[in-house]
Symmetry: C2
Subunit: 239 residues, 2 copies
Amino acid sequence: MPRFFASEAPFENSINLYGDDARHIGRSLRMRLGDVITVCYDKIDYSCRILKISDEVINLEVLEQSPSLEPNIELILYQAVPKLDKLELIVQKATELGAVKVVPVMTARCVSRPDAKQFAKKRERLERIAFEAAKQSGRGIIPEVMDIISLDECINQMKELDLGLMCYEKGGKPLNSFEYPEKGKIGVLIGSEGGFDEKEADLCVSAGVSPVWLGARILRCETAPIAAISIIMNLTGNM
Amino acid sequence: MPRFFASEAPFENSINLYGDDARHIGRSLRMRLGDVITVCYDKIDYSCRILKISDEVINLEVLEQSPSLEPNIELILYQAVPKLDKLELIVQKATELGAVKVVPVMTARCVSRPDAKQFAKKRERLERIAFEAAKQSGRGIIPEVMDIISLDECINQMKELDLGLMCYEKGGKPLNSFEYPEKGKIGVLIGSEGGFDEKEADLCVSAGVSPVWLGARILRCETAPIAAISIIMNLTGNM
């Protein structure tokens, strides 16, 4: 069943969709009055019947509602900035696999170092990718894509979480050796193409971030986050 | 350290590399006599010193040898044929993550249906991708990419394995509910963009293939194999 995200809460059993969504439903999907679609707002899935169709607005009647099938953890991906096409793949896959947020982090060995203006443009595209992937994969939220932060800021943010992990090529514990707090906030930090330098790793570890071992094989920087999120979602009963 | 696959076994502490590898070492990497590289042959890593360099052959002296860090399971990915660019991503990631073989399977809902000649050309490219990914990720073997087989043939092959799994969008058990035989051969069957039809799923299940649940979110057909292999490698102590 086609799935959309509403921009405003339902009111008296009625929801509206606007703009692109309206044209998509009326023109591309050629849906008709009475057809049923799923509209998601704030982690609730609303099964809705189409009452009115125009190019500007679709008016819908709510038939049923149920909680969206979101993971029982909030997984935040802190990703050291890779080449930007890799970041597109990472945002798409992190969304499908259930992450709530992707935060790019600038580290010492990042080869790709976009300035704020360059990244602002890219971020719009990444947000669009997260939006499309959230629709397609049946998420209850659209994961946020944040501005690039420093490693110091990343460490500060991770201190506020229930569990902070970093995938470190020089070793750590396997992901199935950690306790994952139910409904907890879990941050996972992944290196860029060049990995982390030792000072950075020491800084993270001394701030309470636990190093993680992802096996003897050398994973590309876009493979590591996909693998790590998959494994954590499996270990926490979400996959 | 640069890593290469030898085409023949070492003989009396000497290994040769030929052709593309020879030119790559001499010209692109500009390596010199005495430099040390890793050469892999049949799951053994040989640390070698360069004795002679030409455009045709590099002659190496073996200094040390140790088993390659291959997973303790043999994971075979049976992948229903997706659009062929997705198959490239799947072969690359399956190689990094430790699969030993990728077998494309033609199922009822495959949209992409290349004929033997079209696929033969593509297969060469896929083998090249597996080769490059094996070198880069530090594998002890180059995973094989096979010709397309039918679902019947796939089921026959899976009967010979220690464990056969299929990721099925209509449900099954999560991957952490299975017993994984150590050193066992494990087959994982993944659907194409359209998934499996019910008859196909029934056929697999009645042949002893266990349906697997990969969570409430709908994964793209290239995401499912990456997630499944990652999780199995974690659960078997290989990641």
